[in-house]
């Protein structure tokens, strides 16, 4: 019962925050609601006993949105932005993408309802019987998924070097 209440409160905050992120005209307000939505998602992760994921969600998105925020303040002229058209006209494309995503979610939900552990490969476990998972994520990342991990690191390194090159013409 308690779990359900917490989940619906957090999920409601996330959905309302996400909607307001899109509909606010002021870019700073949008950033604030984006944080609200992401924090609520972090809360849901915490409720699922995915502590590491939850904390990483906070660290990464706080840092990321902090930068976004500074860019909004520095680069976007808010007075001009307020008068511009807020939505573009590709409503049909967006609608089709949303329908596709919804179909995917419904499909996953129906599979989950069958209670067959073989389908998703994960046996359902009550949340309070899960063991701490931070170490497991580390082991998996560095044993089974070493190559993708390194490729992602190189991608980030390339982005970093590119940013320095673009920011500084003469080094």
């Amino acid at each position: 019962m308690m779990d359900l209440v917490i989940f619906y409160v957090l999920a409601g905050i996330a959905v309302v925050g996400a909607v307001l992120t899109v509909t606010r005209r002021n870019a700073v307000h949008s950033a604030v609601f984006l944080i609200t939505a992401l924090m609520a998602t972090a809360g849901i992760f915490l409720q699922l006993r995915a502590e590491f994921l939850s904390v990483v969600q906070i660290i990464l998105y706080v840092g990321g949105i902090m930068v976004l925020f500074v860019f909004v303040v520095m680069l976007v002229n808010l007075d001009v932005a307020l008068r511009q058209v807020q939505f573009n006209r590709q409503k049909w494309v967006a609608g089709i993408v949303v329908l596709g995503l919804a179909a995917q979610i419904v499909f996953i939900l129906t599979i989950g309802r069958t209670q067959d552990p073989g389908v998703l490969g994960v046996p359902p476990t009550p949340a309070d019987q899960l063991s701490p998972n931070t170490e497991k994520i580390g082991m998996r990342l560095f044993e089974n998924y070493m190559l993708p991990f390194e490729i992602a690191s190189i991608l980030l390194l390339v982005a970093m070097i590119g940013a320095v090159i673009m920011g500084k013409r003469r080094i």
Binding site: V32, V55, M66, V73
Partner: protein, 436 residues
């Protein structure tokens, strides 16, 4: 009495009790930390500091609190109203929430999270949002400049501070704050002695992250009036100030847990030094005796009363610490009471060094601050993490002792630091190349 039993044994009972105690005690503690800061400042500048309200200004925090609560709360015209209102609360809530994972004693912890250290770092980092939002919403140039400086500074120094925390983590082998302290008990040495460079880098980064002098550029009064707090007044200003002090307590707690042995007494595993357990009650007894000795010298009757009251509080604390000594050595209550004393003592010493530095060093220029962070602290911190990792490998695979391995790691890091610091310095305010 079955219902009372049920409540006491409910799994949420102790965490909620600890949380309520924290929320009640913290504002008082923050008020007295501000008084302490003013007294230390006065001492270093050969003055007396606050002396009027209560004996030796002991009631000054309460008077300040009442005054600030009654002050008018001004919202600037064309400020972004609700962001302006919510910003200080965000900062303060972040600081308070981070304290939830801090173990003040072996049993005194609201939540022993599996990822405690990451949680504290993540949640206390949310505090800059309040600063930046407040600075932006004030609709004032000084506030905005202060907020942007704060964002740049905190983002820069968080990298160095985070790497310094990693060097401690490698030694402890866990993210849970409780287990980190237990690991230091197991090694028989606080990590500050094993990784002094890591501690130093974290110390510098924590000063910068809490916007304290000499890194207080976001609120540099000679340049920006009061930085992001310029437009705040009355109670909202108080919340910002409390948030700053709460964040100082958070970083001091993290440093205490990771590097200074948390609730452990000095030489906790040496049985010959058990007489150190008598130090806490003796300390409070001396304090109480001093207060009683000063009581008749107060000028007014009411001041005498207040002084006697403080003496009685010290006497009570001495009694509590002494009573804990009579409990068996392995009792949880004794460990909690004495652990709490040592933990708070270390936190206060850490904060004292914050104050000491504030009143001793001049403020950095912004380019100096950035150069120190990016070109010195971050490379040294990364090298330190690599060196400690290699030293741990030497210990595991080659059978080295703990101290030689760590000594080698520290030496290597110091050599790299000396090489970095010895490079030819070029003032950053000059253009790097003509026309560049």
């Amino acid at each position: 009495m079955a219902t009372l039993e049920n409540i006491v044994h409910h799994p949420f009972f102790l965490p909620i009790l600890y949380g309520v105690v924290l929320v009640l005690v913290l504002p008082l503690l923050i008020g007295y930390l501000v008084l302490l800061e003013r007294k230390i400042m006065a001492d270093m500048q050969a003055r007396l500091g606050p002396m009027r309200v209560g004996p030796h200004g002991l009631l000054q925090p309460l008077a300040d609190g009442v005054k600030l609560m009654l002050k008018e709360d001004i919202t600037p015209t064309e400020a972004d109203r609700w962001i302006f209102w919510v910003a200080p609360i965000v900062t303060f809530t972040a600081g308070m929430t981070a304290l939830a994972a801090v173990p003040f004693g072996p049993g005194f912890q609201v939540a022993d999270l599996n990822v405690g250290l990451l949680f504290v770092v993540a949640v206390s980092a949310l505090g800059i949002f309040g600063i930046v939002l407040g600075g932006w919403a004030s609709n004032s140039h000084y506030s905005l400049l202060g907020a942007l400086r704060s964002a740049a500074q905190i983002v820069s120094y968080e990298v160095a501070g985070g790497m310094a925390l990693v060097s401690g983590l490698l030694l402890g082998g866990s993210l849970s704050l409780r287990r980190l302290v237990e690991a230091q008990h197991g090694e028989g040495a606080w990590f500050v002695f094993l990784a002094p460079v890591g501690f130093f880098i974290y110390f510098v980064a924590s000063v910068a992250e809490t916007n304290r002098a000499p890194f207080d550029l976001p609120e540099a009064e000679s340049e920006l009036v009061a930085g992001f707090m310029t437009e705040y007044s009355g109670f909202r200003w108080v919340i910002f100030m409390m948030a700053e002090t709460a964040n100082m307590i958070v970083v001091a707690s993290v440093a205490t847990v990771l590097f200074l042995g948390g609730w452990l007494r000095p030489f906790a595993s040496t049985r010959e030094l058990d007489f150190l357990d008598y130090l806490p009650p003796l300390l409070f007894l001396v304090l109480a005796a001093y207060c009683f000795w000063r009581t008749p010298k107060q000028p007014v009757g009411i001041q005498k009363g207040v002084m006697a009251l403080f003496a009685l509080i010290c006497l009570g604390l001495a009694g509590a610490e002494g009573w804990a000594l009579t409990l068996p050595a392995d009792s949880a209550l004794r460990a909690a009471i004495h652990g709490g004393f040592w933990f708070l003592l270390k936190v206060f010493l850490y904060l004292y060094s914050f104050y000491w530095i504030r009143f001793t060093f001049p403020r950095y220029r912004f380019d100096q601050l950035m150069r120190l962070g990016w070109q010195f602290l971050i490379p040294v911190a990364i090298v330190h993490v690599l060196a400690i990792g290699s030293a741990l490998l030497l210990r595991q695979r080659a059978g080295w002792g703990l101290w030689p391995a760590m000594g080698l790691a520290t030496l290597v890091t110091l050599l790299v630091a000396a090489w970095l610091a010895g490079g030819k310095e070029r003032p950053a305010y000059l253009p790097s190349e003509p026309g560049g």
